[in-house]
């Protein structure tokens, strides 16, 4: 058997970012093994490997490849997501610089290595062009996240959220797999293009089974991106996980989930769009409303943001419902902005958190007078999450909703806008607590120059994309054009 047929130089070049991440992770693990607690070195290697991998990934921008006989496709769509994950990875690494120590844990090499592995898994999810690859990427991501969520292994909250995440994640995997199997069974292949051609040529075994398979796939994805009614894990997990991990958890993996979901539906089942439209409509509606109402009553900021991210997932569903060039590009734009906002918000929370304190609304009273810059950034992220102009959050929502309106989903958008108005309450509540209340005891943030720079960049980019979104919109449109 000649292996060179199946493994060409082009394949190797294509997966170079993954290889860089793997090597980086192995180096970090070796540092951990031979020179203990070299936190700065491990952080440096982690960021460096993400930057190098990002460099290799962005080299492909504008071109597209098919690797490993159609297992993997590289194009602008996947590259956009690659860069998004890597940004999230870098920010997460920076904000967790010594977060775990403040919570009574230990920042170890495994932590950074697992973030790299998770990034790798996410890259495979959006690069994959085969159910097998999507499945493996998803599991690589999930396994890394299970461990990361439970990384404070002496902390009961962390344990508990890890176990919940694990059980529901594995449960979801079961559904996803059964869906994938039914799709494979009815079409005889796991490759997206072949599935699509089998469906258009009507060479499928059974329509019922195929719809069932797609439904189960959707359920699997819905679990992973926390759509109602499959969202019940997210508040507990977001709250219990180390905040630095939560920042990662609610941004990049969610983007990866939506990216993979979009890709599956865009490439493999475009012909069946009409069949699952109503289902998605209902999912979007439920997710928005339930997420919003639950967020209203929270006293814990992390929990509030968890429900807020559920709500955002609901908005994103609208984009999937639209599924034209405009809709997809709106989703991409929204995902990027959403990631930046949440990374910033959770990043600041993680700076303020110390032992038991720093996660409740009450703790934030009077913060503004002591730390005006930090409070201003947090307020900016909140306003952006709520969708106030001129922040990027507003532009994201605007593009998303307008794409839906142009497709005629008027009622849904009206409800979405109502939801947005309601959501203002809980976002602004935090700002009110910071600026309008006083308290003797305010939180003391941990401020490292590196951290301040990162938070600053995130805040600036929120403003920048809000005022001048043109360049980014061009990029996402180009990325979205691949499949639509």
């Amino acid at each position: 058997m000649d292996l060179s047929l199946y493994f060409t130089r082009q394949d190797l070049w294509g997966i170079l970012p993954e290889i860089v991440l793997l090597v980086g992770a192995l180096i970090i693990l070796s540092i951990e093994l031979f020179a203990r607690s070299q936190r700065a070195a491990m952080l440096g290697v982690g960021i460096l490997s993400l930057v190098i991998a990002g460099g290799f990934a962005s080299k492909n921008f504008g071109s597209s490849f098919i690797l490993f006989q159609g297992m993997v496709t590289l194009n602008d769509y996947s590259t956009f997501f690659d860069l998004l994950y890597m940004t999230a990875g870098i920010v997460t690494m920076v904000i967790s610089y010594n977060y775990l120590e403040r919570k009574g844990g230990e920042t170890r090499g495994e932590y950074f290595a697992l973030i790299l592995f998770a990034t790798m898994g996410m890259m495979l999810m959006t690069r994959g062009n085969d159910l097998v690859i999507i499945f493996l990427g998803m599991e690589l991501l999930s396994l890394s996240l299970y461990v990361l969520v439970g990384f404070l292994r002496h902390d009961v909250f962390s344990n508990e959220s890890a176990i919940k995440y694990l059980l529901l994640g594995a449960f979801a995997t079961g559904f996803f797999l059964f869906g994938a199997v039914l799709v494979y069974g009815t079409t005889g292949t796991t490759n997206f293009q072949h599935i699509a051609s089998a469906i258009t040529n009507n060479e499928i075994l059974s329509d019922t089974l195929l719809s069932l398979g797609i439904g189960l796939l959707l359920v699997g994805f819905a679990f992973k991106v926390a759509l109602v009614p499959f969202h019940m894990w997210s508040p507990d997990v977001y709250q219990g996980a180390p905040t630095s991990v939560t920042a990662f958890l609610c941004t990049a993996p969610k983007a990866a989930g939506f990216g993979a979901l979009l890709k599956v539906f865009l490439v493999a089942f475009p012909a069946l769009h009409a069949d699952w439209q109503d289902l998605l409509w209902a999912l979007a509606l439920l997710t928005m409303i339930v997420g919003n109402i639950s967020a209203l009553v929270q006293t814990n900021v992390k929990r509030m943001l968890a429900f807020s991210s559920v709500t955002h997932a609901g908005y994103l569903c609208i984009g999937i419902l639209v599924l034209n060039e405009m809709g997809v590009s709106a989703i991409l734009f929204y995902l990027l902005v959403y990631s930046v906002m949440n990374l910033g918000a959770f990043g600041i929370i993680s700076l303020l958190e110390k032992e038991e304190k720093g996660v409740n609304f009450k703790d934030y009273e009077g913060l503004a007078s002591k730390h005006p810059w930090l409070s201003a950034s947090l307020a900016l992220f909140m306003l952006s999450l709520a969708g106030f102009p001129p922040t990027a959050g507003f532009v994201a929502k605007y593009t998303l909703f307008s794409s839906a309106i142009s497709e005629g989903y008027i009622w849904l958008i009206i409800i979405a806008i109502l939801n947005t108005l309601v959501s203002v309450y809980y976002y602004v509540r935090l700002i009110v607590n910071m600026y309008m209340r006083t308290s003797e005891e305010t939180l003391v943030p941990f401020l490292h120059p590196l951290l301040s720079v990162v938070i600053f960049i995130l805040a600036i980019s929120i403003m920048f994309f809000g005022v001048l979104p043109g360049w980014l919109i061009d990029t996402v449109t180009q990325a979205a054009r691949i499949y639509t």
Binding site: M1, L67, L136, S144, V147, L209
Partner: protein, 166 residues
């Protein structure tokens, strides 16, 4: 014909033991019954001419995974479960509803028509080690490598979480 009959007998046993796994109060019994279910599944794989997978099923599931389960159950002595299942919650009701839909779907598929698994002659080689090995190292080379990374992650995670002093 005898083999077909065997298939149905084993299927019945599989379903029965799987049900007992779920309904049993004692975790150790559940684990043992699950092992029995895996044995039955392995026989089913044999009947479906997936010889390699039949052996793998035993080596991996019965020989490794379930031993780990038993190990943990025994280590923490959590055999018995005192709390009875509570009344239906909303989520469970929803999930059950979806389950019913799922099962109706499968049944509908059955009504549509019967597809025999009878194979064309001379092509019974997909289940052996050579075929799977060749596929793994040619078409599925990339997934195979990712699977190894998956195991590496599991290894790192397990050691980190479970080892008392690292």
């Amino acid at each position: 014909m005898t083999l077909s009959l065997l298939f149905y007998i084993i299927s019945t046993l599989t379903i029965g033991s799987a049900l007992l796994v779920v309904l049993n109060r004692n975790a150790v019994y559940s684990a043992v019954l699950l092992v029995f279910t895996f044995f039955n599944l392995s026989i089913l794989y044999l009947l479906l001419e997936a010889y390699f997978l039949a052996v793998l099923e035993i080596i991996i599931y019965a020989g490794a995974i379930m031993v780990l389960f038993l190990f943990v159950i025994m280590l923490f002595n959590v055999g018995k479960e005192q709390v009875l299942p509570k009344i239906m919650s909303f989520q469970r009701a929803v999930s059950l509803f979806l389950l019913v839909i799922f099962f109706t779907g499968v049944s509908l598929f059955t009504i549509q028509g019967v597809q025999d698994l009878h194979q064309p002659a001379g092509s019974a080689s997909i289940g052996n080690v050579t075929a799977i090995g060749e596929a793994l190292f040619s078409k599925y080379l990339f997934p195979f490598e990712i699977a190894s990374i998956l195991l590496l992650v599991a290894l790192i995670g397990t050691v980190y979480l479970a080892k008392r002093k690292i």
